[in-house]
């Protein structure tokens, strides 16, 4: 900032100091608007962060399953070429093709079977075992998801190491159904994961293909992203090669979409109060220019240009906006602090255990970018509100202004 502009700001502060009460009211108007905006967005961001964190902790965020997609009306299958392309995407740590099929047990339990290479099971799914271990490549060993394992043990007495007969219903050339039986050996039960793999039976990819699955290409591709921050770019990459990505990242996308709407909607109302603050500045500055007509005329008589006059008036607006923005940020932080201190326990006491988690967390999340945005918005709006009074002041006729007696 050049020194002359700095002096204009000093003059602006002194001019504002002459009209303390009116200036305080104007600053309060701006501050309330900024506080409303900061508070609203902080609340929205707090809820968003809570929801995203909950999804992250309760699900396997970096796991993506790429399914056949559609480009126009054409189905894009998961071919080996696409599988290789997806595996080579930046941010992909490991990938493995899968085939899916439906079988039944002799006890009439329907079982979703997922065929995956043995190394893919370990590299991509990162399973931990409640009992037993993973299957060997080329064997008829299988791994059960936590929920399926418990179900089969409880209702059919299936145990690790005991043969399990899977029945697949097929149809002959005349359309008559017939059943094919396959014997597999459960060698492991995975710990609960909180996703669809709790319900499935995992077997070697070649075994699943041998059972007649995957005749029209792979059912999908399991992809492990390098980290949570890479998930969304990997998902975009998968879409780019014509496949359809699925995973818990979609929940985060859905939460983000919803919270964007909520924050924008609430922000509009908060913005309206900020707009009122802006109108107050315009009103204050119009009055100020009117009251100081003679001073503006004197400034012009001693050499101030129209630009100088505009700068002087706008400097006052910027000071009003800056102080209002700072005060608004402080109020916003205060609002968030009170909400975080009292809101969580209140919700927990009203709605019980469902909100117990809020006791230790922040409902409203105030960030530096948010505070900076609040401040810049206040200053920007103040400058905008001051444009007309500043322009009007700069167009004064110096002779008439000096004669005005104001």
């Amino acid at each position: 900032m050049n020194s002359r502009l700095a002096e204009f700001f000093q003059l602006a502060v002194r001019q504002l100091f002459r009209r303390k009460f009116r200036v305080i009211l104007t600053i309060a108007g701006i501050a309330i608007g900024v506080a409303a905006l900061v508070g609203t967005v902080a609340l929205g961001e707090g809820i968003r962060t809570q929801a995203v964190d909950a999804i992250r902790t309760q699900s396997d965020l970096t796991l993506i399953e790429a399914l056949p997609g559609a480009q126009g009306n054409i189905l894009q299958l998961v071919t080996p070429t696409r599988a290789a392309a997806a595996g080579a995407l930046p941010g992909v740590k490991a990938s493995a093709p899968v085939v899916r099929g439906t079988f039944a047990t002799r006890g009439q339990t329907y079982v979703q079977v997922v065929g995956v290479p043995a190394d893919g099971l370990e590299d991509v799914l990162h399973p931990t075992y409640l009992r037993g271990s993973g299957f060997l490549s080329g064997s008829n060993e299988v791994v059960l998801g936590a929920a399926l394992g418990e179900k089969l043990q409880r209702y059919e007495g299936v145990r690790i190491g005991d043969p399990l007969i899977l029945i697949r219903r097929s149809y002959d050339a005349q359309g008559r159904p017939f059943d094919e039986e396959t014997t597999v050996i459960p060698v492991g039960v995975m710990e609960e994961r909180g996703d669809a793999f709790d319900q499935v039976l995992l077997m070697d990819l070649d075994l699943a293909i041998g059972l007649g699955e995957g005749e029209s290409g792979y059912s999908g591709l399991l992809i492990r992203a390098e980290g949570p921050d890479r998930v969304f770019s990997v998902a975009e990459g998968v879409r780019g090669i014509g496949l359809s990505p699925r995973g818990s990242f979609e929940q985060i996308e859905a939460v983000n979409r919803m919270m964007d709407m909520v924050v924008i909607f609430l922000g509009i109302f908060a913005g309206l109060s900020l707009l009122v603050g802006g109108l107050m500045i315009a009103s204050t500055m119009i009055t100020s220019v009117y009251e100081r007509t003679r001073e503006i005329g004197i400034a012009m008589a001693v050499g101030a240009s129209e630009g100088d006059v505009m700068e002087m008036i706008l400097a006052e607006c910027a000071v009003l906006g800056f102080i209002g923005g700072m005060a608004g940020d402080l109020l916003g932080v205060l609002f968030a602090t009170v909400l975080n201190a009292l809101g969580g326990p209140f919700l927990a006491s009203r709605f019980g255990d469902a909100f117990a988690g809020l006791l230790d967390t922040e409902i409203a999340l105030v960030t530096w970018p948010l505070l900076t945005a609040g401040l810049l918005l206040a200053v920007g709006l103040s400058l905008l509100a001051g444009l007309y009074p500043a322009w009007k002041a700069s167009r004064l006729n110096p002779v008439e202004a000096i004669r005005s007696g104001r």
Binding site: S3, R4, L11, I298, A301, G303, P398
Partner: protein
């Protein structure tokens, strides 16, 4: 005769309704002259001063400073002219109430992009010269009328403008203080060689000037 500092030719100012505030005024003022313009209210004195000072534009005729004609259609040129060529002293003093005496004096230099240290030093010297060295940090509201006008005179001198225009500088002052102000103006004219064009309706005070010009109904009559 050498080129005058200020020369007006057929300078006119007409207002809607046929009012002729100035009617073809021809006037030449040499460098270092102290000229008083006298006349009754409405004779066109202040209008003449405002046009010569670049605050108002004429309806016809021309104003030349150092032989160069002032272009009233060029706003930038007019601003530069007001910054560098003229200093104003008004009847109402017209100081900025929120600025101290010293800050009021240095105010014009703010628009001339002069550094603060230079401005402050110049204001200090000028306030000492007009006898207000010890009142530099006082606000206009804390000064008497005569003191305020002295501050205004110091302000008019601060940009080293060759021409000082004073419009009824003693109109709001008692006779003793008025004598003091004219005496100060005379001293400044002699010591600093500034050219002074002072409007007054008091003929006794006009006697401080080297030359008196009388205006009546927008014309120079003597």
């Amino acid at each position: 005769m050498s080129i005058p500092l200020l020369e007006t030719r057929a300078l006119s100012r007409h207002y809607p309704g046929g009012v002729r505030a100035l009617d073809e005024v021809d006037l030449r003022i040499g460098k270092g002259e102290f000229v008083a313009i006298v006349g009754r209210s409405g004779s066109g004195k202040s209008t003449f001063l405002n046009i010569v000072g670049g605050l108002d534009a004429p309806s016809g005729g021309s104003v030349s400073i150092h032989g160069r004609m002032l272009d009233y259609s060029d706003r930038r040129a007019l601003i530069a002219f007001r910054r560098q060529m003229v200093g104003f002293v008004f009847q109402q003093f017209n100081l900025i109430p929120s600025l101290t005496a010293s800050e009021n004096v240095e105010y014009p230099l703010l628009f001339n992009y002069r550094p603060p240290a230079e401005r402050q030093e110049k204001a200090r010297q000028l306030l000492a010269m007009v006898g207000l060295g010890d009142r530099a940090s006082h606000y206009p509201g804390q000064l008497s009328g005569g003191e305020q006008q002295r501050v205004a005179i110091a302000r008019a001198l601060v940009a080293d403008s060759p021409l000082i225009l004073a419009d009824e500088p003693t109109g709001n002052l008692d006779s003793q203080t008025s004598e003091g102000i004219f005496s100060l103006l005379q001293r400044l004219n002699r010591e600093r060689q500034v050219t002074l064009l002072v409007v007054t309706h008091e003929r006794e005070l006009a006697s401080y000037a080297d030359r008196t010009v009388e205006m009546r109904d927008g014309r120079v009559v003597a």
